[in-house]
Subunit: 193 residues, 2 copies
DNA sequence: GTCTATAAACTGATAGAC
DNA sequence: GTCTATCAGTTTATAGAC
């Protein structure tokens, strides 16, 4: 047994909790909901995650980890920047099909009710994303694919904010095409033809 | 006494509830919080708003009403489209200073936990906003201020989504300048120089 | 590790006096 | 209209048997 390996139960709990959190928000589901979803008693969930704050932190750290891996996969391709951007958009787009939004977008929208312990890692997620996006934007500008003025990381912050908002509004209007059109508009906005 | 006029208490309750909802989210505050905020007993709040769903609906309808008035005020000016867009952005920007986001953006992010009764009026808010924004975009394109391709109302949906996401991300990073830069980028994206 | 049982606090909500 | 008092249900969390 590998050190640091998660048990199946822990993963099942996290999977169920993540789906609930991305769909309803972290303040709109309970240990009872997870219990019902995976067929385990509430007390058993507390064994793995003593407090809800522990659960929320584990959820966030795992999400960040998974997202970092997805960025790495895109980086390891030889895709041109515009395609990398589209693949990045698809990471978010997939959640829409599940009636969910980005876990970090959800946590950010509820930030005033978020345990203080989670604020730094949450902010770090957004910084990581904007730095990565900024690199892609800069590479595209350098090879002539993109045309835009100003700092690429600053621009990346607008791109990230747009994607996060796109998920929320598209889901509210039950219109995933809104999100697809948003990605097109983002590319058009940075001069991609 | 005018018919349909709200009592002071009702307004105080709605004011407190709105601040709490825009800061924490509707599922992260209780009647006890309102009670503490304005110095009234919980039972008295139930007298004005029997159920929390009643309160949430009243909150949404009043917000829509206030927003419509703000749009009208912008319309009645002779400002050029680009300035109208900036004034629209300022409507959102103001909430940031209060540590809040758009009430409808908040409700949209929690939509899976939202009472079914509120979904239609919430969607209507977004439709109203995009129609209004589409008109401004179209006017700007016609007078040469803006340059962009495609349907102006579709484009307006991207603009609205960006603003909503901008509020959420800017607040999470405690950096209101992110939102200001986003507005600039939106204008640049529709060809405004 | 999972269970039953239970606790303590909080939630939305109601009854009835003033 | 506002209050006190109270309710039933839910929430997070713990104790202890298996």
């Amino acid at each position: 047994m590998m050190r640091g390996m998660r048990t199946n139960t822990q993963d099942e709990i996290l999977n169920a909790a993540q789906a609930l959190a991305q769909q309803r928000g972290f303040n709109a589901f309970s240990y009872a909901d997870i219990s019902a979803a995976i067929g385990i008693r509430k007390a058993s969930i507390h064994y793995h995650f003593p407090s809800k704050e522990d659960l929320e932190l584990a959820l966030l750290l795992r999400y960040v980890e998974q997202f970092d891996e997805a960025l790495l996969a895109i980086d390891q391709s030889a895709d041109p920047p515009a395609l990398k951007l589209r693949r990045y958009g698809e990471l978010y787009r997939r959640t829409l099909s599940l009636g969910a939004i980005c876990l970090c977008g959800m946590m950010a929208s509820d930030i005033a009710a978020l345990p203080a312990m989670l604020r730094a890692p949450l902010a770090e997620f957004f910084v990581t994303q904007t730095n990565w996006l900024g690199g892609v934007l800069e590479a595209g500008r350098r090879n002539g694919e993109f045309v835009f003025a100003g700092d690429s990381v600053l621009r990346a912050r607008s791109v990230l904010a747009s994607l996060q908002g796109g998920l929320i509004v598209a889901r509210a209007l039950q219109d995933a095409a809104l999100f697809d059109a948003l990605v097109d508009d983002l590319l058009a906005g940075i001069g991609h033809r």
